[in-house]
């Protein structure tokens, strides 16, 4: 899998990263199952909300996969997914409170993730913090003073 890792690549998720993957997985499942049911049974009622649920599920899945795989591509995927999520939950949360009529049915992001214990609001922040910590860990150890060149041999006098 990640055998040909270049130095500087993120490792596949482990430890705390796995907890995040589990959380993202649960939310991908929750949002995805909900969106599938809604799209299949009553798409016409609130297409925007249902498509949004589906998009949210896809983003959660991308974040989970990105974190799990690691590597430069995985890290970037997870980063983009987290930013999209954070934007989504903030924009949709604000809109759903400002104009409830536009969101007749709940989505994961309605009311800043109210229906899901506000976890959708916290999750992208945790993801971004984790990615940042991971990025920092990679930069270390900081380059030490350049290796000294062997002292020039003094020509025999």
């Amino acid at each position: 899998m990640a055998e040909h890792r270049v130095p500087g690549d993120a490792p596949p998720a482990e430890g705390l990263g796995r907890v995040l993957v589990a959380l993202y997985g649960v939310f991908a499942l929750a949002a995805g199952a909900r969106a599938a049911v809604q799209l299949a049974t009553r798409f016409a009622e609130a297409p925007l909300a249902y498509l949004l649920s589906a998009a949210a599920a896809a983003v959660y899945l991308a974040a989970a996969a990105g974190l799990l795989r690691g590597g430069r591509a995985g890290r970037r995927t997870a980063l983009v997914a987290c930013v999209v999520e954070l934007t989504g939950v903030l924009v949709v949360g604000a809109l759903s409170l400002a104009d409830p009529a536009a969101f007749p049915d709940e989505t994961v992001w309605s009311g800043f993730g109210q229906g899901y214990g506000y976890v959708p609001l916290v999750l992208p922040v945790l993801g971004l913090l984790y990615l940042r910590a991971q990025g920092r860990a990679q930069k270390s150890p900081p380059p030490k003073s350049p290796p000294k060149s062997p002292p020039p041999k003094s020509p025999p006098s």
């Binding site: 705390l16 796995r18 589990a22 997985g25 199952a33 049911v37 214990g117």
Partner: protein
């Protein structure tokens, strides 16, 4: 779908969540206790699914059958996925990895009960 079963399920799910968090706090990996709790949880969920399936086949009408089945399938999947995923985690975070789906199940069974009672009430 009975309230007693839902209470039992959410209690076991809560215990599994607590056991998972505790093993992380104690800097230990998951052990037999977690496996047993996850097994009991899964068994309770299977019983619930079978009861629900029998009643649905017997003509019980739900306002949102598709949603109910989706939640049921998701709940059945979570403990298994959680155990498999936690077993591959070699650090102390394995417990928390397992606690996440367990907590999700604890919430989902109550939502399932809501969906069920909307039909039978």
């Amino acid at each position: 779908m009975t309230t007693a079963l839902v209470v039992a399920t959410s209690v076991v799910a809560g215990l599994l969540t607590a056991a998972g968090v505790a093993s992380t706090a104690a800097r230990r990996r998951t052990g037999l206790l977690h496996l047993v709790l996850a097994g009991v949880l899964e068994a309770l969920l299977v019983v619930q699914a079978v009861v629900a399936a029998v009643r649905l086949a017997g003509g019980t009408e739900l306002p949102e059958t598709a949603t109910f089945l989706g939640y049921m399938a998701g709940a059945l999947l979570l403990p298994v996925a959680g155990v498999l995923f936690a077993r591959t985690e070699t650090s102390r975070w394995a417990g928390t990895v397992l606690a996440v789906p367990a907590a999700a199940v604890a919430v989902m069974v109550w939502r399932l009960l809501q969906l069920w009672e909307a039909g039978s009430g």
